[in-house]
Amino acid sequence: MVPYLGTLEQKSVKVACMSPVESDEELTRKQRREQARADRKAMEDAAAAAAVRRTRLTQLGVVGAVVVVAVVVILIATGGGKAKTPPKVGSAGASSTVAEVQKLIGGIPQSGNVLGSSTAPLTLQYFGDLECPICQKFTLGALPTVVSKWVRTGKLKIEYRSLETATREPETFKLQQVAAYSAGKQSKAWYFIETFYHEQGEEDSGYVTEKYIQGIASQVPGLNLATWTADRSDPELANEVTTDAQAANNNGFTGTPSFLIGHTGGPMSKVEYSNPEDPTFINEAVEKLLKA
């Protein structure tokens, strides 16, 4: 800083000895040099800044590309919604499901869509959608305990009712729920319901087709398929699905599974839950009613 100022002072002394024209020319030349230097520096700075910016954009581009690839991999890995066909009768998968369902509800009386003794003092109404994954969690997680503890012992009967939530198409909903009720005409609705939940497909993937429903029915032990098929066109069963929806609406249910419990033939009250896989909420409700 100081040497530079000194130079300027020396220059000013020198300029004082020059003619005005020479001074102007000298200053202009100097200004041009400085201007050129400043321009060059500005260009170099701009080029350096542009290079840094390009590097940063490239880095971000690489990150973006990696992220896009990762998301595509996740999308593919988590499934694009392939239709699911239940395992064929006699296959290892089918045998396993049939054995599990048989172990759970085999020997328990059924009537229509009701599981349990007709003389059971308590009734639980289970509003479900066969495609609803939370219902699957309840059916596979909490229900086995409830069945073995209360239904098998004749204290509780469970009535399955329909409420459309997870199924996107109302026609598909009616098709699958009526198929279950149709099995109920042979007192095997719960075999159909349990098998459906055991082999439930990916939500909203359109896996419920006529072939799928027939595949479920074919795994119901002892179901007369010809009779079952004929019964599916019974308008009474479709009306029952509609009545169930009205009952759910009257009780303010918007999600599944939803539950009503009470003394058989008496008033019913809602059962709230926080974890559908934990049977405690039903156990407590049953115990309370049995004490009452």
């Binding site: 840094v52 910016r53 940063r56 954009l57 880095q59 971000l60 990150v63 973006g64 992220v67 896009v68 990762a70 998301v71 996740i74 999308l75 890995a77 988590t78 919604g81 994954p133 939370i134 969690k137 939530t165 997870a166 996107r168 990916e202 939500e203 909203d204 918007t254 999600g255 926080s274 974890n275 559908p276 896989e277 934990d278």
Partner: protein, 164 residues
């Protein structure tokens, strides 16, 4: 916006995201219903098969992501940490976009906590990318934090809480 103000904004957003992700992770492991004003839609999302990725809850993945972002923000600011933050938030944004896609087109329900996290992550990504692209802000500049003429170590930031 000054580097310091930007950093504080990002930290506040990260803390909000951490709170949301912690709550959703807790709800997942406790197996309880999440707080939701839209009926059962939150439960529907959080109990769907998309709530886990290869057995790992997506809520936990989100929580880990926010923790990583938080740690990056606490580290001394420099080119590398600005890049790390931008990369993390771009990744977080993409993951949020994937989850929102699943909510809208696979589950057909919206989880409020997930949506709020997605909004937080989107804002954070915009800020972090802007922060990375603009690079070091010279002190005393229109965007800078410090007063004119104040010395600053290049590529480093004053610790939070200290005067700038």
């Amino acid at each position: 916006m000054s580097a310091r103000a930007l950093r504080i904004t990002l930290i506040v957003l990260t803390l909000l995201g951490l709170a949301v992700a912690s709550y959703v992770t807790y709800v997942h492991y406790a197996g309880i219903k999440p707080a939701c004003t839209a009926g059962e839609s939150c439960t529907k999302v959080q109990t769907s098969r998309y709530a886990e990725l290869e057995g790992v809850p997506v809520a936990l993945i989100g929580l880990i992501g926010y923790v990583a972002i938080f740690v990056t923000l606490l580290a001394p600011e420099g080119e590398n940490t600005r890049f790390a933050l931008a990369a993390l938030t771009v990744g977080g944004f993409a993951f949020s976009a994937y989850l929102t896609y699943r909510e809208l087109f696979s589950i057909h329900a919206i989880c409020e906590e997930c949506a709020s996290s997605a909004v937080i992550m989107t804002i954070m990504m915009c800020l972090a990318v802007w922060r990375f692209l603009r690079g070091e802000v010279p002190p005393g500049s229109a965007m800078g934090a410090g007063p004119a003429g104040q010395n600053a170590t290049p590529d480093s930031a004053a610790p939070l809480g200290s005067a700038s």
